[in-house]
Assembly symmetry: C2
Homo-oligomer: 292 residues x 2
């Protein structure tokens, strides 16, 4: 499976999930808001990762792996829609175009996020009906990635605390869903998920580091979303903690740790290529400029 094939499967999986959400019966405004949240997507990194791990683990149930990848991307999209709401970032721009709340208003954006969360679990249940021993642990792993105590919802909530623990904050806000992506990929193929935890953790930290740098260095046009948000909201960030140079060095070191965290397996070469591809993508243009 090349990344291009995986990309097609991911878009098809998302399209199919949205089709089941609509059935010609859903309120048209809500359906439009949900579609706007999901298409066109960003890099689809988390589902790519999930499918790549599923493949590395033998991929004996491609439909379940695809459902896991779809569910994780739907949950990622939900978190972006809720992040952009007026009570958080009040962001008008996402992926280079109007955010859902800007295009459809806050009420439908709130509901679209809720609907995407529910759709993620119904997608898992639909594919899991034929793989019953895998369904419960798969849902548990996905829930740990998004819910309490340490999923992305908790990560966002640490921003409401005074002086939150920075590692736990970053691990929850970004790392948790990457961990869910790698572990869900393994579980979907009937493999032990725990050897895959470290890869998800390292990738999540690398993404958070890159995102902090992007926020500090890129223009909104380059980032496709508002930047300078961490300093504007006085949020804890790697740039605030280590400075620009320190954050760049940390990102570089994390990419190396990702490579080391890939467990020995048949698909390790493809996984390393995926990590290398993402590492190139991670470096924002502004970062490259300032490093020059």
């Amino acid at each position: 499976m090349t990344p291009a094939t995986a990309a097609v499967r991911i878009e098809e999986g998302l399209e199919s999930a949205l089709g089941r959400a609509d059935l010609g019966l859903a309120p048209p405004g809500l359906m439009a808001a949900v579609r706007h949240a999901v298409f066109p997507g960003g890099a689809r990194v988390r589902p790519q990762l999930c499918l790549a791990v599923a493949k590395a683990c033998g991929s004996d149930n491609p439909a379940l792996a695809e459902a896991a990848a779809t569910a994780i991307e739907l949950l990622h999209c939900a978190s972006l829609v809720h992040d952009d709401l007026p009570c958080f970032d009040a962001a008008d721009l996402r992926r280079g175009r109007p955010s859902v709340q800007k295009a459809y208003g806050a009420p439908l954006a709130l509901l679209a996020g809720d609907a995407l969360i529910v759709l993620a679990f119904s997608t898992l249940a639909q594919a899991g009906a034929g793989a019953q021993t895998r369904l419960a642990p798969l849902i548990q792993v996905v829930c740990r990635g998004v819910g309490m105590p340490n999923g992305i919802v908790a990560g966002q909530a640490w921003e409401s605390e005074v002086d939150p623990p920075l590692d736990l904050y970053h691990q929850s806000k970004t790392g948790a869903l990457f961990v869910a992506a790698t572990m869900a990929g393994a579980l979907a193929s009937g493999s032990d998920p725990y050897p895959w935890r470290a890869l998800g953790e390292r990738l999540g930290l690398a993404y958070q580091a890159a995102d902090d740098l992007l926020d500090a260095l890129a223009t909104p046009q380059e980032a496709g979303k508002p930047t300078g948000q961490d300093s504007a909201h006085l949020r804890p960030s790697l740039v605030a903690q280590l400075g620009l140079r320190g954050a760049c060095e940390r990102l570089e070191s994390l990419v190396g740790e990702c490579m080391d965290a890939i467990p020995p397996c048949e698909g390790s070469r493809e996984l390393k290529e995926l990590v290398a591809l993402q590492a190139t993508r991670l470096t924002p243009k502004g970062l490259a400029r300032s490093a020059a």
Copy 2:
């Protein structure tokens, strides 16, 4: 199982779910907001109904029935928390005390709702690990109750449409979660859920009728929440459609339909008592006064 025993099981199930959400690791503000959303509860009608149907169907897996009841109540609480946000009702009062958004602010209220949705599914998955053939259909039924195209999220979204279909709006906004409660109770006991759909539908419509009357007739003190919201927001309501007298007659007729919708089963007597008890509760004091 008396209603009192069921009530204890419901509170214990919710307490246990919140314990798993915390584990001493969750952000304290988020945990407090989630707890505020769930305790003290309202009438816990939906989980009572779920447990009563599970018992009527033989209740061979009480842990799974309890998980289903817990999940449905968590989802109901999530919907109330999100309903009260500034972009919807901006309600400061819920169950006679400050709403979650009033007590903890909109960001934590938004996240608390999201966390409750995820917790509902992890509760199902935890109990469903030992009942694998039942888990997938159980999750599907619960998802249909809350998500798209016709769950409570869709019901809320119909409020953003011009001239929404009133039956579909009410069926989605309130009926869908009652249908999920009855069908999930049957599924948790390994029974065919479809004979239980009509009871959930009729109960949901009765609740919506009662809620419309409460909104039109009760004071905020009597209702424990802001009233007069339907007319203030120009929402479609049974009172607007049929007038006060017509809405009262419709409620009375729906209670009768609920009784008729209980399928023949061993536990039908207890279920009829539960419906009768709720029918008495449904009549708001103001409604009784105006009928006098």
